[in-house]
């Protein structure tokens, strides 16, 4: 019937576009990391990857990224789950809370970063202002000037921005749990904690895993929030891999090295997402 040919017409254009905007540039980046493209003297070389392995700057960026992603994702998942449970409860004015709950996620991450940067600013910032007014501290804290505090501020800011999405997914999952399960359990004499542990959590497991993988992926690639809030500073205390790559490419003009770092990050993210991808591929069959 020529069906197989029509498939080509439908699926083809999108794939062509994808190859054009994703495939070629990705290939170019890989080539560039091996010093084969856009360099004065092109020739296969592992120099960039060797540098990657020995560069303390990259180790620091890697460590920063690991700390940042794990803390933020933990924050997201726990707050998201908590918020979803709260919003799932039967209370008046639910829609109002829902609206307010999703607001942080609606902001572009750059904008969020700028607002939180101002909030954490040492003298005119809200956080120090509130802490001083409530007499919890007697001197303004240098949130963005101290390496550990800067990382903490970043986590608070990105935690704020990202958790509503997790909450939405988990809320949908919660609402998909059939009510009769709870009713049956109540008949059997289960209390609230039992319900949560033996019905709610297992039912949410799939959504939880999906949300977790998605969140890890998104946080690994995050750029705007970190760039606008700390720029990687102070020093390189909050320089995550994406920031380091940007700097290497646009501030230090080390194209090959920047490409190598980016390839390393991409491989890392593919590794994290492979189980999820395999699972979804199996489902399509």
């Amino acid at each position: 019937m020529g069906e197989s040919r029509s498939v080509l017409y439908f699926v083809g254009p999108a794939f062509l576009l994808l190859i054009l905007v994703l495939g070629f540039p990705a290939m170019a980046a890989v080539l560039q990391s091996f010093e084969l493209l856009w360099v004065p003297e092109a020739g296969f070389s592992l120099a960039n990857y060797q540098r990657l392995v020995t560069d303390p700057g990259f180790h620091k960026a890697f460590a920063n990224t690991a700390v940042y992603v794990s803390c933020v994702v933990a924050f997201h998942m726990s707050l998201g789950l908590g918020a979803a449970l709260l919003l799932n409860a039967d209370i008046p004015g639910k829609w109002l809370f829902r609206v307010a709950a999703i607001l942080p996620w609606t902001i572009p991450d750059v904008i969020g970063g700028i607002v939180w940067r101002f909030m954490f600013d040492t003298l005119p910032g809200f956080v120090n202002g509130a802490l001083l007014r409530m007499a919890l501290v007697d001197q303004p804290l240098e949130w963005l000037g101290h390496p550990k505090l800067a990382m903490f501020s970043l986590i608070v800011a990105e935690g704020w921005r990202g958790y509503p999405f997790i909450m939405l997914i988990l809320l949908a999952g919660l609402q998909a749990i059939p009510q009769h399960l709870y009713e049956a359990a109540a008949v059997d004499g289960a209390n609230r904690w039992h319900c949560f542990r033996y019905i709610t959590l297992p039912s949410l497991k799939k959504m939880f895993m999906i949300a977790l993988v998605l969140d890890v992926i998104w946080e690994c690639r995050l750029f705007g929030m970190v760039y606008s809030m700390t720029g990687g500073g102070p020093g390189n205390a909050t320089e995550v891999i994406s920031i380091m790559t940007y700097r290497q490419y646009f501030e230090y003009y080390n194209n090959g090295y920047a490409a190598a770092i980016a390839v390393a990050l991409a491989l890392l993210m593919l590794a994290v997402s492979t189980p999820y991808l395999r699972m979804s591929m199996r489902e399509e069959r």
């Binding site: 607001l103 572009p108 750059v110 980016a262 395999r278």
Partner: protein, 276 residues
């Protein structure tokens, strides 16, 4: 589940705390945007403006040229949304209705492409755009932004098309319609809400981008709003009141749309994942 009053009160308190956390930056953003330039950097901090003024907004809109950035954002995000939705709806239909060899693989590739970090691509994009002279153009930026929006659009639209039973297609084809006509005249009208939601989300994804704009746009005349706000910070005089006014404007559009469309977002993500 029995909801006893004590539990309800705890829930309210929990929600209240959450709301404070959520809304605090919005409150600060707005309050600061109404302060004067001296008051906004004053120490100790004032929590409400002493003499509220619209100076910051006036300055942003008139002097800094924000209407231009606003318009650029609308044009680039709109073009990106249209481009990815058009290509996406075709691909989504193909994935939804056809069975073919390699389909699972192709779908996984499409999904996996979302895992590639933007930072991998900006360098090559920068080189390529410079060579083909699309650097510093909105078209170049639109092409770049489709890397974010296309896989996502295909995924969401497929979810929506899946909800329509195959019988509809078959009925139309029995009546003599080609696949294309089926898509246009039968499927599309039925998933219109989903299509609108997908386009809007693609629009919002593109609106929120800054990495691509930062690397591909150098002139203020074509820069989108997110880049405009970013470039404000670090000006010789960090006028926080102005910057906050800009952030209020920049976040109002996405906030508005997301709030309206949150139902569809949940459906789109949860629906295609929760397979009953």
């Amino acid at each position: 589940m029995v909801t006893n009053p004590r539990f309800r009160i705890l829930t309210f308190i929990g929600l209240g705390a959450l709301m404070v956390y959520n809304l605090l930056p919005f409150y600060w953003m707005t309050m600061s945007s109404f302060k004067t330039t001296l008051e906004v950097i004053s120490f100790p901090v004032t929590f409400m403006p002493d003499a509220p003024t619209l100076d910051a907004y006036r300055s942003i809109w008139m002097q800094e040229g924000f209407p231009v950035y606003f318009w650029n954002s609308i044009v680039t995000s709109g073009s990106t949304a249209i481009l990815s939705s058009v290509f996406g709806v075709f691909a989504a239909y193909g994935f939804s209705r056809f069975a073919f060899r390699g389909k699972a693989l192709l779908m996984t590739v499409m999904l996996g492409s979302q895992m590639l970090p933007g930072i991998l691509l900006v360098g090559p994009y920068f080189e390529i755009m410079s060579i083909i002279e699309l650097y510093n153009t909105r078209s170049g930026l639109v092409l770049a932004l489709t890397t974010i929006t296309l896989p996502f659009s295909v995924w969401m639209l497929k979810g929506y098309i899946d909800t329509l039973p195959v019988e509809i297609d078959q009925a139309a084809m029995i009546d003599g319609a080609s696949r294309l006509q089926t898509l246009l005249m039968v499927i599309l009208p039925n998933i219109l809400p989903g299509l609108v939601a997908t386009m809007t989300f693609a629009f919002l994804l593109a609106w929120g981008d800054v990495l691509w704009a930062l690397c591909l746009i150098s002139e203020p005349a074509v820069q989108p709003m997110t880049l405009g706000v970013l470039r404000l910070v670090g000006q010789f005089r960090v006028e926080w009141a102005q910057i906050m006014a800009a952030t209020v404007i920049a976040s109002s559009i996405p906030a508005f749309f997301y709030v309206i469309l949150q139902r569809y977002l949940v459906q789109g993500f949860a629906g295609s994942a929760v397979k009953d």
